[in-house]
């Protein structure tokens, strides 16, 4: 696999080079673009490392959504007339040693950890052994929903907090108008008519195969977010000043479904967070997907709710 290592070395070098550029650069927009590229390369790295689930998530969330979110924020600053060229203020006296130390430390511990023999009954191995009992084919989904459901539930809480927090700091500001893309352009309408349905299709696909193959609620949610963002950016849906009941219900759906099913296990005399069957897995995953998609779209649009365009 010498070519493989060559590919890895190339990827690794580019990652380091890009990060260095981003950190020391002078023009923010350029660094933002480089950051997006960094995300792409990270996704490739996941693919190289044999972690397609993570690569999926990275492609959808890490590279796609994060980059788009950053770009939007940049646009908002730019629209407000923020001076963009704020070169990194250099205080290397303090920062350089810290950074070098951190890097070297991480390298040393990482390399020495490589030498550590893997514990035979490591949790990851156990996951593979116990997976068949869960009825799931994808060990990662097994960990996320069955073995360590609490983590995932709290992760949904993190998303909700991000949304509530964003709402709180949004203040009384009226949601801005985001779209600028002319929908009358044939290409854009083509995009809307082809890509939007396809995203729905792929999201559903990812959600369904997630139990047995790479995929799952997060990836599906991210894809769906892509659809939402598309609609927002083309002005098909508009930000609204106040959230209706449906928006709120959808925003909490994932967390609420997980929590409700998790607690109701008590009534059956089981430990909390025990899922009663495969239907619960599908229910929770669907709810989570919808919540993720709505939450991320709202965060993207920086608004409390979305609605169809009013003429």
């Amino acid at each position: 696999m010498t070519i493989g290592v060559l590919v890895d070395v190339l990827l690794a070098l580019s990652l380091v080079g890009l990060s260095l550029q981003v950190v020391t650069g002078r023009a923010l927009f350029r660094d933002l673009v480089l950051f997006i590229l960094f995300g792409l390369l990270i996704a490739l790295s996941w693919a190289r490392l044999g972690a397609p689930d993570v690569a999926l998530a990275e492609a959808a969330i890490g590279a796609g959504l994060t980059g788009a979110l950053m770009l939007m924020a940049y646009r908002r600053l730019a629209a407000g007339g923020a001076a963009d060229v704020s070169p990194a203020r250099r205080r290397p006296l303090l920062a350089l040693p810290v950074a070098a130390l951190a890097g070297i430390l991480v390298a040393i511990i990482g390399l020495s950890a490589q030498g550590v023999e893997r514990v035979p009954d490591a949790a990851g191995t156990l996951v593979l052994q116990e997976l068949s009992a869960t009825g799931l084919g994808n060990p990662i989904t097994g960990v996320l929903l069955v073995f360590r459901g609490l983590d995932t539930m709290l992760e949904m809480a993190v998303l909700l907090v991000a949304l509530l927090g964003a709402w709180a700091v949004l203040g009384a500001a009226h949601p801005g108008r985001l779209h600028q893309v002319d929908r009358e352009t044939p290409l854009v309408s083509a995009l809307l008519t082809t890509v939007a349905p396809v995203t729905l299709l792929i999201a559903t696909h990812l959600l369904l195969v997630g139990t047995d193959a790479p995929g799952g609620a997060f990836q599906a949610g991210a894809v769906l977010t892509g659809c939402g963002v598309l609609l927002v950016l083309t002005g098909t849906v508009r930000p609204r000043a106040a959230a209706g009941l449906l928006t709120k219900l959808l925003a909490i759906a994932g967390l609420a479904a997980f929590a409700l099913i998790g607690v109701s296990a008590l009534a059956l005399g089981r430990a909390p967070m025990t899922l009663p069957g495969m239907w619960a897995v599908y229910l929770i995953e669907t709810a989570m997907m919808l919540s993720i998609a709505l939450t991320m779209t709202l965060l993207f649009a920086r608004s409390r709710a979305l609605g169809p365009e009013q003429r």
Binding site: L105, V106, I108, I109, S112, A113, V116, R118, V119, P120, D121, A122, A123, G124, T125, L126, V127, E130, V146, F147, R148, G149, L150, D151, L154, E155, A157, V158, L160, V161, A162, L164, G165, W167, A168, V169, G171, L245, K248, L249, A251, I252, L255, A256, A259, G262, V263, A265, L266, R270, A271, P272, M273, T274, L275
Partner: protein, 486 residues
């Protein structure tokens, strides 16, 4: 019973938050009150079980470690939960008035508040390194959002700084978690403790994790974010941040060190942590003395008081453990009272400049009294919880022949006296000029009184803790770390 109790502690506030998001405004106050009032009854069976010498364990979803996440409650966890519930309930009383749930401000505040409570409890229950990471993130994010909830520019800047450093700290923590998992094949803290072997790798992992946690706990010199964050946040938020949130990081550190094998990092590391604590006590106290704003002074005082906790690591005795845990409780209650009182004074005087306090003693007597009573505990003067903590800590330091620590503790409490009395003196001073206070409406008056009562109740609790320390100490002694003799 204990299973239901554990579930309630985490899920009741969470459910409250979720329902409040979708429920009509009218229902907000009852929902908040209801979800909070379920907490004290939940503590009863837990406390009883732990007092009976039981280790309450709940493998979530029925999967034991290392496969699943296990909630474990020992005496330390129960102590933290007791502190949390006491502080949260009384501070919520304040919040009911300062953030009326049915108003716009309350609608923003309360769901975040309840999620913060829920995640704090999940943190105290958890014995899983990665689950702790998730809860820590949740706590941090909710905390940041609450700091900025009023949309004041200074608060937002402080929140931003807190967020950035908090996220960085989490990454340090996560890195160390990965390393520990790689070494031991488990994320369960207790199993990690059993499987971890002393060595360079362990030491570095612990150092990384400690760095992250110390950053979250704002131990000098990693404290830069705290004064502004706690100083600019709304009163109830400052109170809970100082009383509970920073303690949560220290709680994890103590768990890691004495239960999770972190102590294998060695005596020098422990000494280093102790020195940082001493530095915190001395530096932050001096900084508090130099402050010109009331809440900033209180925030720096928090920094100083956190330093005492760090002395546990070099002393590492049963006595020191008992002292430090008691200190965490005593300081939590007193500091919450102090922040609430400070916030009330700030609102009443319209300025947080210390000089404006002149003469506040006669016009805002209740708040000044609450501040002073809390101050008694902070200074470690009898008969307060702070005194008992100081006594225990001094005794422990003396027993371990840590003369330097004795000096630091004594000097620290004298410095505390300087900054506390600076405030109280001003309140006693003759007013600079007659204040022009607009007569406030009846309802607002009632709210103001409620906020003062909340502060005073907490302050009284801080004092009572000194007189009724025996049960708490007995509880703490029940859960000494393995290897520590009583």
């Amino acid at each position: 019973m204990t299973t239901e109790a554990l579930t309630l502690l985490v899920f009741a506030p969470l459910a409250g938050a979720l329902v409040m998001v979708v429920a009509p405004r009218r229902a907000a106050a009852p929902i908040a009150v209801l979800s909070l009032l379920t907490l004290p009854p939940a503590l009863v069976p837990l406390t009883r079980a732990v007092r009976a010498g039981e280790l309450v364990q709940l493998p979530l979803a029925g999967f034991a470690a290392p496969l699943g996440i296990v909630w474990r409650v020992d005496a330390l966890a129960v102590t933290m939960l007791l502190l949390s519930v006491a502080v949260v309930l009384l501070v919520s009383l304040h919040a009911l008035a300062s953030f009326p749930p049915e108003r716009e401000s309350g609608q923003r505040f309360w769901p975040l508040w309840l999620i913060l409570v829920s995640s704090l409890h999940a943190l105290f229950l958890s014995a899983d390194l990665f689950n702790l990471y998730v809860t820590l993130e949740l706590v941090t994010l909710a905390g940041v959002a609450l700091i900025a909830v009023r949309g004041e520019p200074a608060a937002m800047r402080a929140a931003m700084r807190y967020l950035l450093l908090g996220l960085m700290a989490s990454l340090f923590y996560l890195l160390a978690t990965a390393l520990l998992y790689g070494q031991t094949g488990t994320l369960d803290l207790y199993l990690v403790g059993e499987r971890l072997e002393a060595g360079g790798l362990t030491a570095i992992a612990v150092a990384l994790m400690a760095t992250g946690l110390l950053l979250k706990a704002a131990i000098v010199p990693l404290h830069v974010w705290l004064p502004a964050a706690h100083g600019k946040a709304p009163g109830p938020v400052s109170a809970v941040l100082s009383a509970l949130v920073v303690k949560a990081a220290l709680y994890i550190l103590i768990r890691l060190w004495f239960w999770g094998g972190g102590g294998q990092a060695g005596e020098h590391a422990a000494l280093l942590l102790g020195v940082l604590g001493a530095l915190a006590i001395l530096y932050a106290s001096a900084a508090a003395i130099a402050q010109r704003r009331l809440k900033m002074l209180v925030a720096y005082s928090t920094l100083a008081q956190l330093g005492y906790v760090m002395l546990l690591f070099p002393l590492a005795s049963a006595g020191a453990y008992r002292a430090v845990v008691f200190h965490v409780v005593a300081h939590g209650i007193a500091k919450a009272a102090m922040f609430l009182a400070a916030a009330n004074l700030l609102r009443a005087l319209g300025s947080e400049r210390l000089q404006r306090l002149a003469g506040a003693g006669s016009r805002h007597g209740l708040d000044v009294l609450a501040f002073a009573l809390a101050g008694v505990s902070i200074m470690g003067l009898p008969p307060s919880g702070g005194f008992v903590a100081k006594w225990l800590l001094l005794a422990a330091a003396w027993q371990e022949r840590g003369w330097a620590w004795v000096v630091v503790i004594s000097v620290g409490s004298l410095l505390a006296a300087v900054y506390v009395f600076r405030v109280v003196s001003l309140a006693f001073a003759q007013p600079l000029r007659e204040p022009e206070r607009a007569a406030s409406a009846g309802e607002e008056q009632g709210r103001a009184q409620l906020t003062s009562v909340a502060a005073l109740l907490l302050a009284a609790l801080a004092i009572v803790l000194g007189l009724a320390s025996a049960p708490l100490i007995a509880l703490i002694d029940q859960g000494l770390p393995p290897g520590m003799l009583r």
